[in-house]
Structure formats: C-alpha cells, structure tokens
C-alpha cells in the first residue's frame, strides 16, 4: 500500500536558513541516509524537497483561460517543504517511517518532532474480492 508523507516548512525564524552549518549538515545527512535506507528496502517510490515558499506562485485561469500569477505570502501560512511516496506492507510501517522523519535532527541535534501528514494514495484493494 502506498502512502504520501508530507512535511511542512518550519515557522519563520526557526527554519533551516538560520541553523549553524554543523546542524544543517547533520539534518541533510539524516534525510539522505533515511532515503537511502528506504530505497534499499524497496519501499521508496519517490521523494522530493520543494523550493522555499519565496518561489511559490498562486495561479488561476483568467476569463480567457490565460494564467494569472500572484505572489504568495510566506508569513501567512504553512507550506509544504517536501514529500515522500512510499510503498509499504502495512500502515504501521508507514507510521514508523513518518515518526523517523518527524524526529529528524534540528539545531543542536535535538529531534525536531515536526508533524508529518500521512495520506493513503488511492490505489486500494478491489471492492468485490475477499
């Protein structure tokens, strides 16, 4: 079963841009190691980190169908920082992975304990079997 795990950006002022180099490197190293482990276990479908919210745009179609782009306001809400799509044998395994991500090291190496949103991907079991 496939799940998407989503991690939001941290609050303004707490995000990675303000971290000491050593802590930043430990954080990146942790994420790389985790992705490598998920890959080796044959569980990783994909993982992407997203650009900082400064580069995000809101797009709507205008009356003639052309795009209208708008800046967004990073201060106002939470933003998706990155996501993983995993394919695992049980929901419990997905929760374990999410908890690992949540405990990624932050400043001073302390676990961040960020909330990780977990959503099943719509590829579930057939309706009239079993």
């Amino acid at each position: 079963m496939k799940y998407m795990l989503m991690m939001n950006t941290m609050k303004i002022g707490q995000g990675v841009p303000g971290w000491p180099q050593k802590d930043l490197q430990a954080h990146i190293g942790f994420m790389m190691g985790l992705n490598q482990e998920l890959h080796e276990r044959g569980e990783l479908v994909s993982a992407e980190g997203l650009s900082f919210p400064d580069q995000a745009k809101l797009v709507r179609a205008s009356s003639n169908g052309r795009p209208i782009t708008d800046g967004i306001f990073p201060e106002s809400k939470e933003f998706l920082a990155g996501f993983w799509i995993i394919d695992v044998d049980s929901p419990e395994r997905a929760y374990d992975i999410a908890a690992r991500i949540s405990a990624a090291p932050g400043p001073g190496g302390a676990p961040l304990n960020l909330p990780i949103e977990l959503r099943p991907v719509m590829s579930g079991p057939p309706p009239d079997m079993l």
């Binding site: 990783l44 044998d89 057939p126 309706p127």
Partner: protein
C-alpha cells in the same frame, strides 16, 4: 537454425524461466546469484530472439547464457579476492552445452515456488520474487505493474533474496508434509497477485502488465505441479470465475459496475465453464477449503443468467460454511449481505451489529458501504446517504470512491 519470433515465443520464454533458474541454482548452489544470471539470460533473449529468431533449443540457449554469466561473475569474484588459480580453472572447465539436456528436473519450478513464497518474506517481497523467478517477468515489468520505479522493485527483489539466503533455505524439494504445511502461504501469494491485477484492471492504468492473467498462468502451472490438490483447483477456479466478469465490471468511463447491474452477456463463458469444471472436480475430493468455497460462491453468481435468477439461499449456505472454515470479518460482512437477500435487508442490517466491536473492521469503508446499501433497501435514504459518504471518504480505491459518491448523489436526487 531458428524459428521466427511470435506471440507464443514470449509465453515459451516465460515458461522456461524457472527451469533455467532451477538448473543454474542447483549447479552453482547459489540461488541469489543464479536468479540474477537467469534474469540476465531472459533479458538477452528478449533482446535477441525477436531479431534473430527463437533458437532450436531455447532452454539450452538460456541455460548456457545464464551459466556464462555465473562463471564470469565467479571469475571476477575470484580475481577480486585474489584466490588460487585452481578454483578459477575449475570454473573455466565447465562446459554447459553437453550437460544441459540431462539437467532438466520438472521439480525445479516447484522448489522455486515454495522458496519464493517463503514465510520469512513480507507479502510484497514474496510477490515480486515469485513473479520474477517463477513467472519469468523482468524487474521493469513488475515495477510497472505495481507503479513503482524499477530501482525500487530491484531493491525489493534483491532484499528478498538476501532474506532467503540468510534464512538458509536449501534448494531442495520439500517433503509432502512440509509442502502441505506451506501450501497456504503459496496460494495466498498467488491470490494476492490476482487481486492486485483485479484492482489495476480498472482505472487509468491500461498500460500495466496484466497481473490477473499472470496469476492465472502461475496457478495453472502450480496445478500441473501439484495435480489433484483440491485447494489449488479451488483457487484456480476462483480466479477464472472472477476474471470471467472482467469486461462487464467497468463501464465506458472506467466506472465500476456492481454485480447486480452488469451486462451478463459480456461474461466470459469459456472461463466460467472451465472454472465450474475445476470446482466440481475439487469439491468431489475430501476436504472443503477456503478457496473452493469462495469459488463455489462465485460460480453460483456466474451461473445465474439474470440477476433475479441468483440462488441466494445457496450463497447464504456457502457463506455459513465459509464462516466455519475460515472465519473473518469480511466473511461475516458478506454473509450479512447474503442473509439480506434471503431474509430481507433488516435481517442483514441486524447481523452487521456483530461487527461493530471488531477492531479488524472498525471504521472500514466496506462496513459503511454495506450499511448504506441495506439502509437504501429499507427506505431510509437519509441514513443511507450518510453511510455512502462515510464509505466514500474512507476507501482508498478511486473507482470505488466514485461509485459510492454516485450512489449518494442518486439518493439525494442530484
């Protein structure tokens, strides 16, 4: 000398895959490495045969290529470890062509099947390894079928082989008793492959490999290897009797069409009669198992020309038997549906209360979907809409979600 490549050649290649692997694994006493070598031989054949034609002795060709890979690998391994040249020479003297013909053992495929469905493996690993080692599929094809990257599937397979290696399973035929004990795990893996294929046959995944067909093929082969086993026959019958409805179960926009609304003229008569025949043979034997009973239920549905001809009392009796042989909340749920068809929706609804405290089904969309359906029949549309919507929010199947939202919409008159 060779034959031109045609549709049957691909089939032949897949049938030969486990024989090649078996032969190489036995010769080199290394299942994991042999599996890689056999896979490479398969890929080489897929590349060469369509252009050059199918060789006269296709199995010999594959074994020879696989053995060459093995010796190459062995040699580089030896070079790497800087071992005695004597060992390298031993690998060198091996001449595959002469020994191939006497080296054919029909039990190889059976050994492989039980090995790939080893209880130490997780279901997804067992499925992947079975499709590759026994089914002769390439990693790319399996990855495509499960919509994961090829590298992910390659890792899953390699990990599965490591697990087998670590658990020290020898490459040998199991005793009849061991086989009996381990057969349910094997059948479960085949069943999972089928049901995975059954999901993917709807939705926007038409380019995917047909896993339901692969499962039927593998189960057919298993039946040849374990003749007259009633549960193997039962499983094959269940697959055929379910697969027979394949074209009728989705509409032009890939929407789900439930059993009672299907155009039964679209059902595959040949699959139904083969399924029924198998089932009849299986049921005449001593024990009645899980798959035979499910197949029997599928057969009762398939044999009704119109939905109103369905013999619900018989289906109800079969579910009662199934509740005793293999109790599970899903069986209880389906039993309640059958009871509703025989004794009215209120009776079915009443039976569902038994499931309320069951943690295995707590909050499961199916329970809400069935409740909604029975409430609709009882005329309580408001409550039915509520349960259809809860079910829609909880299912992880896209066609199912669309169907459930549609049912709620019909009742609201939208």
């Amino acid at each position: 000398m060779s034959k031109p490549w045609d549709a049957a050649s691909e089939q032949l290649l897949r049938e030969l895959a486990p024989q090649v692997l078996g032969s190489v694994a036995r010769r080199f006493h290394d299942f994991a490495a042999a599996e890689d070598a056999a896979q490479e031989a398969m890929i080489a054949a897929f590349r060469q045969w369509p252009q050059e034609g199918v060789p006269d002795n296709p199995r010999g060709w594959l074994i020879q290529v696989a053995c060459r890979r093995m010796t190459d690998q062995l040699r580089s391994e030896i070079a790497r470890r800087d071992r005695e040249t004597a060992v390298a020479a031993e690998a060198e003297t091996f001449s595959p062509t002469l020994e191939i013909e006497v080296d054919m053992d029909p039990d190889d495929t059976l050994i492989l099947l039980f090995m790939c469905c080893h209880p130490a493996l997780t279901p997804s690993s067992a499925i992947a390894l079975t499709l590759r080692a026994v089914g002769g599929l390439t990693t790319a094809e399996i990855a495509n079928a499960f919509l994961v990257p090829e590298a992910t599937m390659a890792q899953r397979i390699s990990r599965a082989k490591q697990t087998i290696k670590a658990s020290g399973v020898p490459f040998r035929l199991l005793s009849p008793n061991e086989r009996l004990e381990r057969l349910p795990a094997v059948l479960h893996v085949l069943y999972l492959i089928f049901s995975e294929g059954y999901v993917s046959s709807t939705g926007s995944h038409l380019q995917r490999l047909d896993l339901a067909r692969e499962a039927i093929r593998l189960t057919r082969n298993t039946k040849t290897l374990l003749p007259a086993n009633p549960e193997v026959e039962g499983l094959l019958a269940l697959m055929l009797l379910t697969d027979a409805r394949r074209t009728a179960r989705t509409g032009p926009d890939e929407e789900l069409i439930p059993l009672d609304k299907q155009d039964r003229t679209l059902w595959d008569r040949a699959e139904i009669s083969e399924g029924v025949e198998l089932l009849t043979a299986a049921l005449s034997k001593a024990s009645v198992g899980l798959y035979q009973l499910q197949a029997a239920i599928a057969a009762v549905h398939d044999e009704a020309e119109r939905v109103e001809d369905t013999d619900w009392p018989q289906i109800l009796a079969l579910y009662e038997l199934l509740k005793r042989v293999a109790p599970s909340p899903m069986v209880t749920l389906n039993h309640a549906i059958a009871a509703a068809m025989v004794h009215g929706p209120a009776r079915g609804f009443e039976l569902l209360t038994a499931l309320d405290g069951d943690p295995r089904l707590a909050g499961h969309y199916r329970l809400h979907a069935v409740r909604a359906h029975l409430l609709e029949k009882m005329g309580d549309h408001e409550a039915a809409i509520k349960h259809y919507r809860i079910a829609a929010a909880r299912t992880t199947s896209m066609p199912e979600r669309n169907y459930l939202i549609g049912q709620a919409a019909l009742l609201t008159g939208d």
